[in-house]
């Protein structure tokens, strides 16, 4: 896997927000590569710039420094082959469109013929267990169901890269477990490359093939960790593996270290961590 073709390359990416006379250095310098078909989780403390990173990756925000390239092409505008599930998923659904029309609109923009579009929408909604709710409106659904609509919209788009920003922060434990398995299934079935942001350490280890740990702001990559758990993951048995516990403890320690470093940061700014 390590020698697979590089799909996404982030080079010395930095982002400083300038608003009303105040500047916030959200990201100092981030570099990493993602190969075709990888499932990478990005963890980091709240406010460390995870959403900022994703917006730069997806061409929604211009970086202040460095560059992002997808398939060798520099990303300046939202790329055609990428779908994003936003952190504020409820607000990312069009309230005047029904569930199926929400899922269908991006396909319409891509000029997918009617019959094929209907089939993609139907299949995606069935995949997330919302086949019965096609003609309801998003605001008639619970938070977890709205989240599944947002995921269905991304799946129906058939992206090469699926980017998700803390998608399960607001759903109950059971729904969360189901959605985690859904993401793994979609990743395997569609062969899509997934970037999954979370601040839940267990989730990152359970889901990911690789975990990128970000430091606190100003943000760098604290660690790049390969998750050597079996491919077939199961909510109960995988989480009970000794290796799972080791990995999550390791990530936990990294994040603790990131927080300590934050306080001594003025004295000794750290360099981007090397890949492991």
């Amino acid at each position: 896997m390590a020698d697979a073709r590089t799909l996404l390359r982030v080079t010395d990416l930095g982002k400083t927000y300038a608003t009303a006379g105040r500047t916030v250095e959200a990201i100092r310098s981030i570099s990493f590569d993602v190969a075709v078909g990888e499932l990478v989780c990005i963890v980091g403390p709240s406010g460390c710039g995870k959403t900022t990173l994703l917006k730069c990756l997806s061409g929604l925000l211009a970086p202040s420094a460095g560059s992002v390239s997808l398939d060798g092409q520099p990303v300046t505008d939202p790329p055609e082959k990428m779908a994003v599930v936003f952190q504020e998923y409820g607000r990312s659904l069009y309230p005047w469109l029904t569930v199926e029309d929400n899922v269908a609109l991006p396909l319409k923009a891509r000029k997918v013929p009617r019959a094929e579009r209907d089939e993609l929408v139907r299949a995606a909604l069935e995949e997330v267990g919302l086949a019965h709710a096609t003609t309801t409106y998003p605001w008639q659904l619970s938070g977890g169901m709205q989240q599944r609509v947002a995921i269905a919209r991304a799946i129906a788009y058939r992206p090469e890269v699926l980017v998700m920003d803390e998608p399960f922060a607001a759903v109950d434990a059971q729904t969360r477990a189901d959605l985690e398995d859904l993401v793994r299934r979609v990743w395997r079935d569609l062969g899509v490359t997934v970037l999954f942001v979370t601040h839940d350490i267990d989730e990152s280890v359970y889901l990911g093939e690789r975990v990128l740990v970000l430091s606190s702001s100003p943000t760098v990559v604290q660690e790049d960790l390969r998750v050597d758990l079996p491919d077939d993951r199961d909510q109960i048995s995988t989480r009970a593996l000794p290796r799972f516990t080791e990995l999550r403890t390791h990530v936990h320690e990294q994040i603790q270290r990131a927080k300590r470093d934050e306080h001594s940061e003025a004295v000794e700014p750290h360099a981007p961590a090397a890949h492991t």
């Binding site: 061409g59 929604l60 939202p78 994003v84 309230p95 005047w96 469109l97 609109l105 891509r110 605001w139």
Partner: protein
């Protein structure tokens, strides 16, 4: 049976409440004018009789239809101009910066003050009357459209950008629906201003229309006829508001539903 009764009672209650006050007012009016011979305040029976005699005849074609035509055309033109210009201004930052101070100025000018100017420029025909109506009615639609278009939730804008929904598709499925609650609020204002301006524009140098008739009756001391004209205007207002309410519920059903859910 009980189910029918249960659904009937609230309906009756609504109708009763809505109709109750007008009925009481007319009764009070009748009692107050009972036996009085006041020239200026005829009783309801007299006004009702005059209403039928005055408006269900040639006057319907001569005055009511032209007035409604001007009102309809003026309002329709205002809505189209308001939405088109408002969308262009709202989606183009430099255009907005350029025009905003001027828009504020024109909006602040009372449209009635424009009547003499427009008479000079356009004469006293229908085009003057249309211009008066439009000069007052476009502003609420235009300014509300600008605000609505600008107020699209940034998360939705980013969603549309990341899925590459642009241009006409974005306008049709994102920008205009997002602005539609504001646009409908603007149209509601436009309708009530339009009715007022229709009457006023017809009071100046006109030879037909409701405004013209009202002034004519007043000058000829046809007091019952004058009152019946006012009743007619009130009725037109109610009909317009009812039609608007119907359209509003259809166009904004998602919005009303969303707000109901948000309220709990």
């Amino acid at each position: 049976m009980t189910a029918l009764a249960r659904s009937l009672v609230p309906t009756l209650r609504t109708v009763g409440l809505a109709a109750g006050l007008p009925v009481l007012l007319v009764l009070g009016w009748g009692l107050a004018t009972q036996g009085s011979q006041s020239f200026y305040f005829p009783g309801p029976a007299t006004v009702a009789r005059t209403f039928v005699d005055t408006w269900f005849g040639p006057a319907f074609v001569q005055d009511v239809l032209p007035s409604l035509g001007r009102f309809g055309a003026g309002v329709a033109l205002s809505i189209v101009i308001g939405i088109v210009a408002g969308t262009a201004i709202g989606t183009t930052p430099w255009l907005r910066e350029l025009l905003e101070p001027m828009l504020e100025f024109f909006r602040a000018v009372p449209p009635v003050a424009l009547v003499p100017v427009l008479m000079l420029l356009l004469g006293i025909g229908d085009s003057m009357k249309l211009a008066v109506i439009v000069s007052g009615c476009v502003w609420p639609v235009l300014l509300n459209t600008v605000e609505g278009v600008r107020g699209v939730d940034p998360v939705l804008t980013e969603t549309s950008r990341s899925y590459r929904v642009h241009g006409a598709l974005a306008l049709r499925y994102v920008i205009l629906p997002a602005a539609s609650p504001r646009i409908m609020a603007g149209i509601r204002l436009c309708l009530s201003i339009g009715l007022i301006l229709m009457v006023i524009s017809e009071m100046f140098a006109a030879s037909s229309g409701l405004g013209y008739r009202l002034v004519y009756f007043q000058r000829s001391f046809m007091i019952a006829e004058m009152w019946s004209g006012i009743v007619l205007l009130g009725l037109i207002g109610v009909v317009v508001a009812t039609i608007f309410g119907f359209v509003d519920r259809r166009v904004l059903h998602w919005y009303h539903g969303l707000r109901e859910v948000a309220r709990g």
